[in-house]
Symmetry: C3
Subunit: 139 residues, 3 copies
């Protein structure tokens, strides 16, 4: 296998940071066969993001969500308001956090550190099911 | 084709977020021949960035520019001021937004979501022509 | 060579932005043999980040550190505080700045702009030695 690409749909989540490492890994059992490579995870939306952060204490994603709400507040004088008060802050967070992640693959596993997990950062109150494109390349 | 790399020079833009998806796609007609792959876009400057965000309403990039100006204000007590008041804020935005993007390729097209576009984030008032390195790899 | 992957350990740094381009390049002499490719740099920690920014004036990384301390202050009412006052701000900065970088390779060298350097962004006062996974792919 040189290239593998798969689109997955996540369950709907409320606003906040949600650990999705297992969703990603379970969609890609072929990673076990790779000695070296890269996984690219891309989110096809502009009011949700992807981030790698601490996977253990649930206070961490809750704090991250509150800090981001402080950096991109709903009461900033935005012009783009037709999709609701949580939409434009979502676009700001999407640019700050980013729409994709690249993670090394080694010895059949993701090369994440012990405390690292992949998070969906849902910026809308009712964002619905988010679609990810997973692209794996390696040998 | 396994690898393709091309450097392009954008037209000069004023400070703000500017949609450049068509500049990138038109420079890479070979993408049409790829079933699967990745496009990497890299900006060779430290006071301009790249970001993926909402491509439809021009209020979105205008709001993004104003929020970023609020997060990295010109009146912060910076020490690096010799290149003008918009320079150090530009470096801050460059680190927050990032110098590169990776986008999946599938079925001969970029795998962007319907509402996603690639933006040049120009942080200087007179940043001039910005250079991008486009690297495509796929099959 | 199609793929090359190597893990390196950086020396310990105090909190701040530290130029590490030479650490990365010296660990990968094989890059000289590549005409085209990509370098992926991944940090296996959640309270340190990687960023590309201005490599010349030491005031730039110092200013970046102070602005980030302003955006993710230690006195925000975090719930995750058991690892010290600099820990949760470190997680916030990790999500804002990101855990990995991808840089084009061309003609045997990194395709960085003249003023661009790779920075370790150390968010802890005593973060210790940080581990990076370097993955190179090209031809």
């Amino acid at each position: 296998m040189a290239w593998l690409q798969r689109e997955i749909e996540l369950p709907p989540y409320p606003r906040g940071f949600h650990l999705i490492t297992s969703h990603v890994v379970e969609a890609l059992p072929e990673i076990r066969r790779l000695q070296v490579g890269l996984l690219h995870v891309f989110i096809r939306h502009t009011s949700a993001s992807l981030s790698i952060n601490e996977n253990a204490d649930p206070d961490v994603p809750a704090d991250l969500d509150r800090v981001l709400a402080h950096l991109a507040p709903e009461d900033f004088p935005y012009d783009h308001t037709i999709e609701g008060p949580d939409d434009m802050p979502g676009h700001v967070k999407a640019s700050l956090l980013g729409s994709s992640l690249t993670v090394p693959i080694r010895n059949g596993q993701l090369g994440l550190g012990v405390w690292q997990g992949i998070f969906l950062c849902e910026h809308r109150r009712n964002g619905g099911r988010r679609r990810l494109v997973l692209t794996v390349h390696g040998e």
